[in-house]
């Protein structure tokens, strides 16, 4: 269901097996592939787990494991058809309680999700938080996400995404002209405090990402949005205007620079990193450099250094 596969530690493997037993009791025979997908693990990991369960059990009085005290599976089904058939189970039939960390991860996630338009209309978040806390082995950790208020634009885009209709709006890219766009929305997502719309742009004939802040004069049409082939894409689209620059920066800024450093060669000496990065435009570079306040310095090309120096000087001139 999750589509992603995560690497497992010994503790995760134990939790996987303890959860797999009730899952199999509830679900009945299931293919290794389906079970692996449901748990978000590799099929090999699932096979390994089921083989361990199949030879585990409860020690009898004499310290011997008797047949009735062991799990059993249909080994032929596993080996010939890659199918899991649980024949007998012992000792456990329900999943373990949530750990404090598991409960708090979902509770904090619910808080963030409750800021999404339409999510908490019937107050279901509060009762869910109670259920999660009730099902946890200890009190959930104090972990919280403060969500901002939903504005009218967010609410209208959310509606359009949910009902699958085409949007039209004026879009103003960074230092570019305003243009009317027609977009079939795919999804909306946030990154830090900014919200983005991912959608198929009829004007560009390609999937694009739009920052909510740059959208004005939004029109929600009644035209059903067409379904397009999904395409991978992040916040930054490569374009012909890309500029390659050399920057150096305080090593501690590395996590903050995130996407800028994707695919960049970075070398670090004495706490200072040097990287060759591609930026969409010198206009975005000057804003980044000004934000970092001297902890990130553009080294090359000279033109890029000049653009940054002039930007800062123009800002300073306002205080003369």
């Amino acid at each position: 269901m999750t589509g992603r596969q995560r690497p497992l530690l010994a503790g995760d493997r134990l939790t996987l097996m303890l959860t797999l037993v009730p899952y199999l009791i509830e679900k009945g025979p299931v293919s290794v592939a389906d079970a692996a997908a449901d748990f978000g693990v590799a099929p090999a990991e699932m096979r390994r787990g089921i083989k361990v369960i199949a030879v585990s059990g409860v020690p009898g009085d004499g310290g011997l494991y008797l047949h009735n005290d062991l799990f059993d599976i249909d080994w032929d089904a596993l080996e010939e058809r890659d199918e899991i058939v649980l024949l007998t189970h012992v000792a456990i039939d329900r999943s373990p309680r949530f750990t404090s960390r598991e409960a708090s991860a979902l509770i904090a996630g619910l808080m963030a999700a409750s800021g999404v338009p339409g999510v908490n209309e019937r107050g279901e978040v509060a009762s869910l938080v109670q259920k999660l806390a009730h099902g946890a082995v200890e009190a959930p950790a104090e972990l919280a996400i403060a969500v901002g208020q939903v504005d009218a634009l967010q609410a209208r885009i959310a509606d359009a995404v949910a009902s699958g209709v085409q949007l039209r709006f004026d879009y103003r890219p960074l230092d570019g002209p305003v243009e009317r766009r027609t977009v079939d929305p795919v999804r909306a997502f946030s990154s830090d405090t900014s919200w983005y719309l991912r959608g198929w742009c009829h004007t560009r004939r390609a999937e694009r990402t739009f920052l909510f802040d740059r959208i004005t004069d939004l029109e929600v049409t009644e035209i059903p949005a067409a379904v397009h082939e999904p395409s991978e894409g992040g916040l930054f689209e490569p374009s012909g205007d890309d500029v390659t620059v050399t920057v150096c920066f305080d090593q501690t800024l590395t996590p903050l620079l995130g996407a800028y450093l994707d695919g960049a060669k970075v070398s670090t000496a004495a706490g200072v990193s040097t990287a060759v990065v591609r930026v969409a435009h010198l206009h975005s570079l000057k804003r980044l450099a000004a934000r970092m306040g001297g902890l990130l310095v553009v080294l090359d090309p000279p033109e890029a250094r000049r653009v940054v120096a002039e930007w800062a000087a123009a800002g300073l001139a306002r205080y003369d």
Partner: protein, 340 residues
């Protein structure tokens, strides 16, 4: 199965099964002699075997599995007479917990908030426990997905210390200070506020509850052995939120913003604009100064004076660092403490 091939999770699974199945508990002796994974090694080094058992108990408790010790008086974990059991009612999800398909869809959305990192794994394993209750649900259409990023290296250590109610020590760089200073803190809550993670807790050096920005912690966080009363965490996230809300309500910047500029676009939604002048509430002057400096000539800070000076100082540093020929890399960047 030969002893050498037994992996920790196999032995631990058999330990869980044995302890769930025993109503009156098993002694350490019985466990080491009879439970799969231990029994195969019973003829070997006794001390190594006992150590393994202690480690397994620890691992199970960390995985949220409640192991009860019966009949021990002095030192519950080391008494030879102790008996161990896992009470089924405390182990398994309570019977009365059920989730509607609509609730599951909401929980899927909640889990997706953690796009990466250790909490993503925790959220996924909680979802699996819920799905094992046998509620089939179609994957909902996640039209709107909030995402929280966890890029602060200090996050995992602080979260672990918060869960275990242990004191932490870390170097904290206050803006304007020349160097980071060590702090000893009870981590009461972690709060994401305006896109940044904050630690809220009792600062032992100051004797009061304080809020720390995770991005200002330099170097590794040390988790100490010293416990603080877990009850002090209760409601701390709400207190942290209230403290930051109160701070934002108590201070606001007055900024001239060039109409229809990038600054107007990005800042406009967050404050009130009167006659081209933006009134913007803020929590941290240094964080806001970083952002305002990025807008260069598009903004002019009128008030407060402190913010105005910070923006001027920042723009001066940026201009000076980019004038003339490029310096050599290490010398180009001012040391972090001095720069702030």
């Amino acid at each position: 199965m030969s002893a050498a091939s037994v992996r920790p999770e196999e032995r631990q699974l058999n330990l869980v099964l044995a302890l769930v199945a025993t109503p009156n508990g098993l002694s350490k002796e019985q466990i080491l002699r009879s439970v799969q994974g231990y029994a195969e090694r019973a003829g070997g080094d006794r001390r190594a075997l006992e150590k393994m058992f202690e480690r397994d108990k620890q691992d199970l408790r960390e995985a949220g599995i409640p192991i009860l010790t019966l009949g021990a008086f002095d030192d519950p974990d080391n008494n030879q007479d102790s008996r161990y059991t896992i009470p089924k009612t405390e182990y398994e999800l309570p019977d009365d917990i059920t989730f509607s398909p609509a609730e599951i869809a909401l929980l899927n959305l909640a889990a997706a908030v953690w796009s990466q990192g250790s909490l993503s794994g925790a959220a996924q394993s909680a979802l699996m426990k819920i799905r094992s209750l046998g509620i089939d649900v179609d994957e909902p259409i996640l039209g709107f997905a909030p995402r929280v990023s966890l890029r602060d290296p200090a996050f995992d250590a602080l979260r672990t210390a918060n869960e275990k109610a242990l004191l932490v020590r870390f170097a904290y760089l206050r803006p304007g200070d020349a160097a980071a200073a060590m702090r000893t803190v009870e981590p009461h809550a972690l709060l994401e506020y305006e896109g940044r993670w904050h630690l809220f807790g009792l600062d032992h050096d100051r004797g009061a509850e304080r809020t720390f920005l995770l991005s200002r912690i330099s170097g590794a966080v040390t988790i100490t052995d010293a416990q603080f009363p877990p009850v002090r965490r209760d409601g701390a996230a709400a207190r942290a939120r209230a403290a930051l809300d109160a701070l934002a309500a108590s201070q606001h910047a007055v900024v001239e913003v060039t109409p229809s500029s990038e600054a107007a676009l990005r800042l406009g939604r967050r404050g009130r604009i009167d006659d081209g002048v933006l009134h913007l509430p803020f929590v941290d002057a240094h964080v806001l100064a970083d952002e305002l400096a990025s807008f260069g000539p598009e903004v002019l800070v009128r008030e407060p004076a402190e913010l105005r000076e910070l923006v001027i100082a920042q723009l001066t540093r940026v201009r000076d660092a980019h004038m003339g020929p490029a310096p050599l890399a290490p010398a180009a960047v001012a040391a972090r403490g001095a720069a702030a």
